[in-house]
């Protein structure tokens, strides 16, 4: 089992700091940049606004939806021969890996990856993890009992009280499904038990958060930052780190080969990986890819989050079969 701690991110923070401070290239990028992202509305808006402060001459247009839906739109645009986006900021590496395999991603050899965990970005430098997003269990604070492990959710006292994001919409959920079903301790049996316990699959993590915070469901399978951000704003919601570990995604950023504005696209990647971009992610409640910039306030002090390892190539391979089986099981 792979364990990520604060320390494992910290490698060459100093080198990075020097890099970030070095003078920018003579010609500042300008023009239109189209971003397709699965970030929540508010986070996407903040990311773009912060990027604009660094690159005021670039106009960013954003299309936002769940990763699976963004990919649907993109696939259609590829088919029509007119992909609109220049950069992608999507939930998971499996999606990026599939795009890379189809030869859609631009290699960015000079991307500033020093100080990043080598596992967080593609060795061929086509996509770069921007943060770490884990999936755990959200609980409405008024709920009577609290699960300690994923397996607990199958118990009778949770019947009819669980919401989870549909992998047919969310990339993080697709990775969760691929990771959990590949494990002997959970497997498809776990999802069949959830179905038997009347768990519902809603569209995305946002819908799970709303259902749990609203009290329509007492428990939800949810990404960490959404639970903690809602909690920070006063929503009656808590986040539990299940004993078996938490599946995680890295929300990679990537440039499409067909980009009309490579300079601006590279500047966007630079910004996401820069100290400033990483600090922004922390301020929005995410665990950053660059551990040297600090951790979000909710991060358990001194502790480590027990991550479930994901075999990306295997998930990519099994993905469409998984989605089909999930759709049959949960009916959407």
């Amino acid at each position: 089992m792979k364990v990520v701690s604060r320390r494992s991110f910290v490698v060459t923070a100093l080198v990075v700091a020097v890099f970030a401070a070095s003078p920018v290239a003579a010609q500042a990028p300008k023009g239109k940049l189209v971003l397709y992202t699965s970030q929540p509305e508010r986070d996407a808006a903040q990311t773009v606004a912060a990027f604009k402060r660094v690159q005021p001459a670039v106009d960013v247009e954003v299309f936002r939806s769940g990763t699976t839906e963004v990919m649907g739109k993109l696939a259609a645009e590829f088919a029509a021969g007119q992909p609109k986006p220049d950069v992608l900021l999507l939930a998971d590496a499996a999606t990026m890996e599939a795009l890379k395999k189809d030869g859609r991603l631009l290699t960015y050899r000079e991307a500033k990856v020093d100080g990043l965990d080598p596992g967080s970005y593609d060795a061929d430098r086509t996509y770069f993890g921007s943060k770490l997003i884990t999936t755990g269990i959200a609980v409405n604070t008024a709920a009577k009992t609290r699960p300690a492990a994923w397996a607990d959710l199958a118990k009778p006292e949770y019947k009819g009280q669980i919401a989870m994001p549909s992998p047919l919409y969310s990339g993080a959920a697709a990775i969760m499904l691929g990771t959990m079903t590949a494990r002997p301790d959970l497997g498809w049996g776990f999802f069949e038990k959830l179905k038997a316990a009347d768990a519902v699959a809603v569209r995305g993590n946002g819908a799970v958060m709303t259902a749990v915070a609203n009290g329509e469901k007492s428990y939800g399978v949810l990404v960490d930052f959404m639970a903690f951000n809602a909690k920070a704003k006063g929503s009656p919601i808590d986040f539990i780190f299940p004993a078996e570990g938490l599946p995680a995604v890295t929300e990679p950023v990537a440039i499409l080969k067909t980009t009309q504005n490579a300079a601006a696209a590279r500047a966007f990647v630079d910004f996401i990986l820069s100290d400033e971009g990483q600090k922004l992610a922390v301020s929005m409640g995410y665990i950053p890819a660059r551990a040297s910039v600090g951790m979000p306030s909710w991060y358990p002090a001194g502790a480590k989050i027990n991550l479930m390892p994901t075999d990306i190539p295997k998930v990519v391979q099994a993905n469409s079969e998984n989605l089909k089986r999930f759709a049959e099981l949960f009916g959407n």
Partner: protein, 568 residues
């Protein structure tokens, strides 16, 4: 000299007439013809593959059944509410009729998706309103509106005004003699209602039922907000999900689905026609309007009942929506300490797409309103004063894009504009212009009807005098006719603006980044779990709509009766 000028004038008339016919053909006929072609020959090759694949999929028939259940249920409820209120308001001597009609008709002119969210906020464990009253349901209670019954309830409330409006228009033509004869013959008011009024009101009632059924069937916003979370899909939401998930690759399939929903709508309209043609409902004279029944001691209870209804179906949901828009985060109890305007600040100033959507929605609705009126004034001239078989056809086809569900037109427009236009090479797909095209096609009839009724009020002698004096048609239209029909045209323009401004059905399928409408941004907030932002945006659109409706009241007196639906 005069002869030559006359010939030139006639040539000009014909040029104008035929260009109008061409525009109507492009807007109303071309998209649907393209859609029909796709049904027979998907992708250009004659094949029944897409057809059989869609028609053999269980999802198609589940969604069809859901569509029929919700549309019929919604229609039934709308007829009960709208019919009762219509009879009471039109036939009795209740007070404050104008104010009441304004409130009762309002839901119809608000965005369906906003109304659906407002109702959602009224129920559920974290309803700010129920929480304030201390009667919020316990943790884990499902919001009861996420169900077929919920969809039927909100559809019924939303479209009850349609039945009310058609019925009221019919009651205005009801001659007083018939009622007086019935009363003199010894029948009580209830007997007269049953034996005389209701039978005579069958045509407007049936027209209202058909209109209501087609509107419920085509509605996207309500089943999208209330049905998608519980995976209760109707045909428009199924089409949306297929297209959103698979993109234009699924076009042949969704084309078949939209033909299916169009087919069901046509059955509804044809059934209404068939029912009406079997009997003769003609009313002999359009005489003095009937004197209202005196309610006497029942007047106050009836008034209280009517206003209670309005409070329940309009005021309470809107109040819940306003309260939700003030909540800082989902599930936070609302009180003076937690209430915030942050959600408004975010949608007005921080969120780029929402800011763009304000510009897009105002611009698209404004352009559609102006363009349609400029088209409707000359078109109505020919339709009213120069009858011919061709013009009767034109009149009929303008109705089609509005009568059919919005998704049908949207899919047709995608098929038409997916590839760049031939010759000029412009690409409309993925721009705001494809949305504008659909607004023009769909709402043309909303502008045309008021302008036509404006023409009927005109005395033609002025126009004829200027014709004799040698003014050509275009000049007469500009200097004589336009000023005279201006109030009706303005009312039509406003109706178009309001409808387009609150629209989601068409733009949900046609939007692209940079070309978002307010409906689309609202829907995307709601889907992403940001219902507080959605509520704030919804409240802002409601304020704009109500302000526009109120702004018409000063000119209401100069308008033909029935042009402004919210005026008695």
């Amino acid at each position: 000299m005069a002869e030559a000028a006359g010939v030139r004038g006639r040539a000009e008339d014909y040029a104008l007439l035929w260009s109008l016919v061409l525009v109507v053909a492009v807007l109303s006929v071309l998209p649907l013809a393209r859609l029909l072609l796709e049904g027979i020959a998907p992708g250009g090759a004659l094949s029944a593959q897409a057809l059989t694949r869609v028609l053999s999929s269980p999802a198609t028939w589940i969604a069809t059944r859901h569509s029929l259940v919700t549309a019929l249920g919604g229609t039934l409820l709308a007829v009960l509410i709208g019919g009762t209120v219509g009879l009471v308001v039109a036939l009795t001597d209740i007070r404050g009729r104008n104010a009441y009609v304004f409130c009762f008709v309002m839901p119809l002119l608000l965005a369906a998706q906003v109304v659906a969210l407002a109702w959602l906020q009224l129920f559920g464990p974290s309803s700010p309103l129920l929480a304030m009253l201390g009667i919020a349901p316990p943790l884990g209670s499902r919001n009861p509106l996420y169900s077929a019954e919920g969809i039927i309830l909100v559809l019924g409330v939303q479209y009850a005004p349609l039945v009310f409006l058609t019925l009221r228009a019919g009651l205005r033509a009801l001659p007083q003699e018939l009622i007086e004869a019935g009363l003199a013959g010894g029948g009580g008011p209830m007997k007269v209602l049953r034996a005389i009024v209701l039978p005579l009101m069958t045509p407007p009632l049936l027209a209202g039922v058909a209109l209501c059924f087609v509107s419920c069937l085509g509605n996207f916003g309500i089943p999208a907000l209330l049905g998608i979370p519980g995976n209760y899909l109707v045909l428009p939401t199924l089409i949306y999900q297929r297209l959103a998930g698979l993109g234009p690759g699924a076009l042949s399939e969704v084309a078949v689905l939209s033909l299916l929903i169009g087919f069901i709508a046509v059955i509804g309209i044809v059934a209404q026609d068939a029912l009406l043609s079997r009997r003769d409902f003609r009313i002999s004279t359009a005489s003095i309007v009937a004197r209202p029944f005196e309610l006497r001691r029942w007047r106050l209870p009836v008034e209280v009942a009517l206003w209670t209804l309005s409070v329940v179906v309009l005021v309470l949901p809107l109040l819940a929506l306003v309260l939700t828009s003030l909540v800082p985060a989902v599930g936070v109890p609302l009180n003076l300490a937690t209430a915030t305007l942050d959600n408004y600040r975010f949608v007005l100033f921080d969120h780029a797409a929402a800011k763009r959507a304000f510009v897009n929605s105002f611009g698209l609705s404004g352009m559609a309103a102006v363009a349609i009126v400029l088209l409707a004034v000359p078109l109505a001239y020919f339709l009213v004063w120069r009858r011919s078989r061709l013009l009767r056809m034109v009149n009929l086809v303008t109705e089609v894009p509005y009568a059919l569900p919005g998704v049908v037109l949207a899919i047709a427009a995608i098929l038409l504009f997916l590839k760049p236009l031939p010759v000029v090479g412009w690409s409309l797909y993925n721009t705001v212009w494809i949305i504008l095209f659909c607004y023009l096609a769909r709402f043309l009839v909303l502008g045309l009807r008021p302008v036509i009724s404006g023409y009927y009020q005109l005395d033609r002698t002025l126009e004829e005098a200027s014709q004799i004096a040698g003014a050509r048609l275009l000049r007469r239209l500009r200097t004589i006719i336009l000023p005279l029909v201006a109030p009706a045209a303005a009312a039509g323009a406003l109706l178009i603006f309001l409808t387009a401004f609150n629209e989601l059905t068409v733009s949900a399928l046609l939007w692209s980044s940079g070309a978002e409408t307010l409906g689309v941004v609202f829907f995307s907030f709601q889907q992403g779990g940001d219902s507080n932002f959605a509520a704030a945006l919804g409240v802002l659109t409601v304020i704009v709509s109500i302000a526009l409706m109120l702004s018409t009241l000063p000119m209401a007196g100069r308008l033909p009766q029935g042009v402004l639906p919210w005026r008695d």
